[in-house]
């Protein structure tokens, strides 16, 4: 059986253009975990660990059961605010986030339950119990590649907002980051992140 690589299969969803472009992302399946707070806080790191532990446990358990194999996709992070368009750069503690890993739709709820149970019993972070599987449709969005430190993302976001105004589009006030590069290895100025801004 061939290994499914959703990131390659859906190349168009992950176009990394240096200028803002319009894109449309249809319904897809994701493993997700939600939280509130600034990216990089302990709870955020814990959520990343829980999400990856679940992703790999589910993948390898299914493989063991001869249910096929797939590649674990890049980490995506959606940021939004409870009410208004208020993703403030100054105070990130109110940010809501949803960490996502795109996952083939044949993964089942029972796979999640088993994985969470096994991991929890072995003393891994209890946050594994918070990992869910959802269908999500980003729909129409503005997308561009940001190269550089995470702190400088607001510059690209500004550019995307300007693009929205020029084209009479209104943003929903949330954005998504798709992490192409590994922040442990790449110096901040060379980090590649696809930014996605959902529009109405």
């Amino acid at each position: 059986m061939d290994k499914i690589d959703l990131f390659k299969l859906h190349k168009a969803d992950y176009i990394a253009s240096k200028e803002p472009i319009l894109n449309e992302i249809t319904m897809a399946n994701y493993l997700v975990i939600n939280g509130i707070g600034a990216p990089g806080e302990a709870s955020f790191e814990d959520a990343i660990n829980a999400l990856y532990a679940m992703a790999y446990t589910i993948k390898m358990t299914r493989k063991k059961q001869n249910k096929g194999d797939y590649v674990i996709c890049k980490l995506e992070a959606r940021y939004f605010c409870g009410s208004e368009q208020c993703l403030s750069e100054i105070d990130k503690t109110l940010w809501h986030w949803q960490l996502m890993i795109r996952t083939p739709s044949h993964v089942e709820m029972t796979d999640l339950k088993q994985a969470a149970k096994a991991l929890f019993e072995k003393g891994k972070t209890p946050s594994v119990n918070k990992v869910m599987m959802i269908e999500h449709e980003f729909g129409p969005c503005i997308q561009m590649l940001h190269i550089g430190a995470y702190e400088d993302e607001y510059l690209s976001i500004k550019q995307m907002s300007a693009f929205a105004v020029e084209n009479n589009l209104s943003a929903l006030g949330e954005h998504c980051e798709i992490h192409i590069s590994d922040p442990r290895r790449i110096p901040p100025e060379r980090l590649k992140t696809i930014l996605r801004m959902t529009i109405v």
Partner: protein
């Protein structure tokens, strides 16, 4: 201190080089060579090729060719005899290799009095008669820029699956290990992905390379199916981070053993190195792969 350690490594390696020159016709084993200078047999070859810029095999082949060149110009032996002495099965094979190196067939080379055998080695070790090497300038990359950390590592208890064969194929062992451990809830968290390679791919044939795919587990883990358990021994380790494709790991090893180590105050211990993989090769570009290499040290 640093200078004297470097000289110590050089003087020990000189013993090996002189031994090779004196026994150029013997089939030299690596352990025999390592013994000449009290190098640990485990890492001897990597130190050697790192310091000399060529492997033992390459050096022996080159020295034999240099000797053949001298014999061609000064002796009366037939080309076939010289070819056999240089370790070739026929004068044809010898001629081909000789021409590739010098641009001349042995017969032409013999007639020309002014052509010298080219010395193409990185460290200037040449075939000599009636003299001994007393020192040499080890081959050092100008851009050698290694960040080496010395760490004291505790025992690491691991679940493992063994693999014998080319390193590129060890993915199979990883699949078995991960798919056995996943349903047990043993992936994720602090579980480390560790590879133990027992052999130097520059020396051992690819199909005989031994490798263990390991994941750190707690003592309560009991072997299941093909998955065994063992302990990676505590001790002092030099740790370097390799960034890039796994295929280039051996280059980093060579630089470490031949260049960094010979200029440091450390000696390698006689046990295998291990690697910790920090990202997933399936979903990461080879250029972005991060691997920490742990090299055991004495003391």
């Amino acid at each position: 201190m640093r200078v004297s350690t470097k000289e110590l490594y050089i003087s020990r390696m000189v013993k090996v080089l002189n031994y090779i020159q004196a026994n150029l016709d013997k089939d030299l084993t690596l352990s025999e060579l390592a013994e000449q200078a009290c190098f640990s047999t485990y890492h001897f070859h990597r130190i050697f090729s790192g310091m000399l810029g060529e492997s033992v095999k390459e050096l022996v082949r080159r020295l034999r060719l240099e000797r053949a060149a001298i014999q061609l110009q000064t002796g009366a032996l037939s080309i076939l005899q010289i070819a056999l002495q240089a370790g070739y099965e026929s004068d044809m094979a010898f001629s081909r290799v000789f021409k590739a190196r010098t641009g001349l067939l042995p017969s032409k080379f013999r007639k020309s009095t002014h052509t010298k055998y080219p010395c193409l080695a990185k460290a200037s070790i040449r075939y000599v008669t009636n003299e001994y090497i007393t020192s040499f300038e080890p081959f050092i990359d100008k851009e050698l820029n290694m960040n080496v950390m010395i760490k004291q590592v505790d025992d690491i208890y691991v679940a493992f699956v063994s693999h014998t064969g080319p390193y590129q194929e060890c993915g199979k062992a990883w699949d078995v290990l991960c798919s056995t451990l996943a349903p047990e809830g043993l992936l994720g968290g602090n579980a480390k992905m560790i590879g133990v390679s027992f052999d130097d791919p520059d020396v051992i044939a690819a199909e005989k390379l031994r490798y263990d795919a390991c994941i750190s587990v707690t003592r309560s883990f009991k072997p299941i199916e093909e998955v065994g358990t063992k302990t990676i021994c505590a001790g002092k380790y030099a740790v370097i981070t390799h960034i890039g494709p796994y295929g280039k790991l051996s280059q980093t090893y060579r630089q470490f053993f031949g260049q960094w180590l010979s200029q440091s105050d450390y000696e390698p211990a006689n046990k295998p190195c291990f690697e910790i993989y920090l990202n997933d090769p399936e979903s990461t570009d080879p250029e972005d792969l991060v691997t920490d290499i742990y090299i055991p040290l004495k003391g």
